[in-house]
Amino acid sequence: MEIVLALVIGGLFAGGVYMLLRRNLVKLLVGLILLGHGANLLIFLMGRLIPGRPPLVPVDATHPVGLFADPLPQALVLTAIVIGFGLQAFALVLARRLYQSAHTDDLDQLRTTET
């Protein structure tokens, strides 16, 4: 399972970087979104995969017994997803406004603020 997830993360990063290097506004954003997903999955994977063992405390114990899944990475991923979603939504609207104002989605044409 780890191998599969690792391959998926690698694929997401490769695709993300490829899209990031395109000249199109929207493709750049798609690249960032793919990279964001890759990062989220990576955190999840780094917390170790322990299927079927939720971190629940039995009724008569004070702490979970035996091997149990680490809940922290999932909390981190949840936070990161929410933040990423907000930022990506903002970036998409910004890209649309920029397109309306500049009448181009070619990043090579968007050089008026360069020095």
């Binding site: 990062a39 936070t79 903002f90 603020t113």
Partner: protein, 501 residues
């Protein structure tokens, strides 16, 4: 449980909400905004005094003991940065009363300023790596909206570049945090300092490099700074003063924090690399500045160049050098913001930031020229102003560490800084305004049309620069204390983890 560690985050948050609710009532909104910023400054002073007197202050949020919960820590460095943020925040908010457009205010300009202050203070005070990521994102999203307010094409374009590179930087940061958790099993900074020592140093150095790139993007270090001069100069001067003073410095703060607290296994490699980056950052920044003829663009490149000096202090990694960097941090935040605010006054008077179209201001308004000259000469490092002592401390530390190349580079860059400052001086203040008769006498000492709210913050900043230059010793001593605390993190670790170990 010490409420003063929490207040620098809570006050801006409450102010943001209040200002948003009072959107339809300009007078109430203004009073709330000024009151919140003033209160924050008072609290920040209290916090610094408290930390100075009683040592490091810690709050375990929700009573979850470290390293399991989120910890807020105020050591001297944090408290000092919070004070600087509060000071800049108040200055910029007063200044904005005169410059903020109605339209921008309608979209929540003052509320967002307070939101940025909350994010910045949170980043300075947190003791948890993931929490640091969250604060970074909070202040970024507010800065995105502030940069784009107005919706002109150049703003949209500049902001898009800023958003794209910062999202990429955040993803790198997130990846680094994920891997860090995977290998160390903790994200509490103090706990990390313990845990990372037992890991192979190659692995730790790899992680350190990931963080170096992520924070390097935010700080505007070489070769990751290209977004800065492409986006900053589209913003109005008041906003730029805040961004120049705080945003990149949060990146530097994060670098200093992680590279003094827990990425210290292989300083021969990591800190030498930082030193090399520092040199290149200084040189490329100042060379970019020399070529510019627009007030805001020129100063934007100077931001980068000054980041190099801060990194130089971190790279040398001695008490004297870090102390110099801390002093430099205080000096550069004040001087840089003051220069941008002066630029805003000039824009108000003349309606342009283009150096070629400006002129004659030293005769018309000698007081304004003085207000420019103090931070400008301070930035270049002319004694007895603050920049001189900052650079003197860094150069001395560099010589003591026998790093002669970086010392030579920093001195050369100082000279070029002076050159580009005299360029602004000659173009804006000294030469005749193109196409106009030379006036024979001053209209008034200070430009009255700028009003108190624009002149007061600049005046106060300039006064502080003179005072910390003439009476450098207390601040130098405090900087050395800060550096000592950074280099001996045992106290920090002990205070944070105290109850657990």
């Amino acid at each position: 449980m010490n409420i003063f560690v929490l207040l620098p985050i809570l006050i801006p948050l409450i102010t943001t909400i209040g200002v948003l609710l009072a959107r339809q009532r300009p007078r109430l909104r203004r009073n709330l905004s000024l009151g919140g910023a003033g209160l924050l400054l008072i609290i920040a002073v209290e916090l610094l005094v408290l930390v100075w007197r009683d040592g490091i202050q810690v709050i375990q949020v929700g009573e979850w003991a470290a390293p399991f919960g989120i910890t807020l820590v105020a050591d001297l460095f944090s408290a000092m940065m919070v004070l600087l943020a509060a000071l800049m925040g108040l200055g910029v908010i007063i200044y904005s009363q005169a410059t903020a457009e109605q339209r921008a205010e309608h979209f929540g300009y003052s509320a967002l300023l307070h939101f940025i202050l909350m994010g910045v203070n949170g980043a300075f005070l947190t003791g948890d790596m993931f929490n640091l990521y969250v604060w970074f994102e909070l202040l970024l999203i507010a800065s995105f909206v502030l940069l784009v307010l107005g919706g002109r094409r150049d703003q949209l374009e500049g902001t898009f570049k800023y958003v794209a590179i910062n999202l990429f930087g955040s993803i790198l940061f997130l990846v680094a945090v994920g891997i860090l958790y995977g290998v160390a099993g903790t994200l509490n900074m103090a706990d990390l300092a313990d845990q990372l020592n037992s890991l192979p140093s190659g692995l730790v150095t790899t992680l350190a490099m990931l963080f170096l790139v992520a924070f390097g993007i935010k700080a505007g270090a070489f070769p990751l700074f290209f977004w800065l001069p492409a986006s900053y100069h589209t913003a109005p001067a008041a906003l730029l003063a805040l961004f120049a003073g705080l945003m990149t410095k949060v990146g530097v703060y994060a670098l200093v924090r992680v590279f003094t607290l827990f990425f210290t296994q292989d300083t021969g490699y990591t800190h030498t690399l930082i030193l090399i980056i520092a040199g290149f950052t200084m040189v490329t920044g100042v060379l970019g500045a020399v070529a510019q003829t627009e007030f805001r663009k020129l100063l934007s490149f100077h931001i980068i160049s000054q980041i190099g000096y801060l990194l130089m202090g971190l790279g040398l990694f001695t008490t004297a050098a870090l102390g110099g960097a801390v002093y430099f941090m205080v000096h550069v935040i004040l001087a840089k913001s003051a220069l941008f605010l002066v630029g805003g006054i000039i824009y108000k008077l003349r309606g342009t930031y283009n150096l070629k179209q400006l002129g004659g201001l030293s005769i018309l308004y000698p007081g304004l020229a003085l207000l420019f000259l103090i931070p400008a000469l301070s930035l270049a490092g002319i004694p007895p102003l603050s920049g001189f002592w900052a650079k003197f401390a860094l150069v001395q530390a560099g010589l003591a560490a026998e790093q002669y190349v970086i010392v030579a580079v920093s001195l050369g860059v100082s000279l070029l800084t002076l050159f580009s400052m005299t360029k602004i001086w000659a173009e804006v203040f000294w030469k005749d305004q193109p196409g106009k008769e030379t006036p024979v006498q001053a209209i008034s000492f200070i430009p009255h049309q700028a009003g108190v709210s624009m002149l007061l913050p600049v005046g106060v900043l300039a006064a502080i620069l003179v005072v910390i230059g003439l009476l450098a010793e207390p601040l130098v001593n405090l900087s050395l204390l800060v550096a000592g605390q950074l280099l001996n993190p045992a106290d920090y670790i002990e205070t944070v983890l105290g109850g657990v170990l």
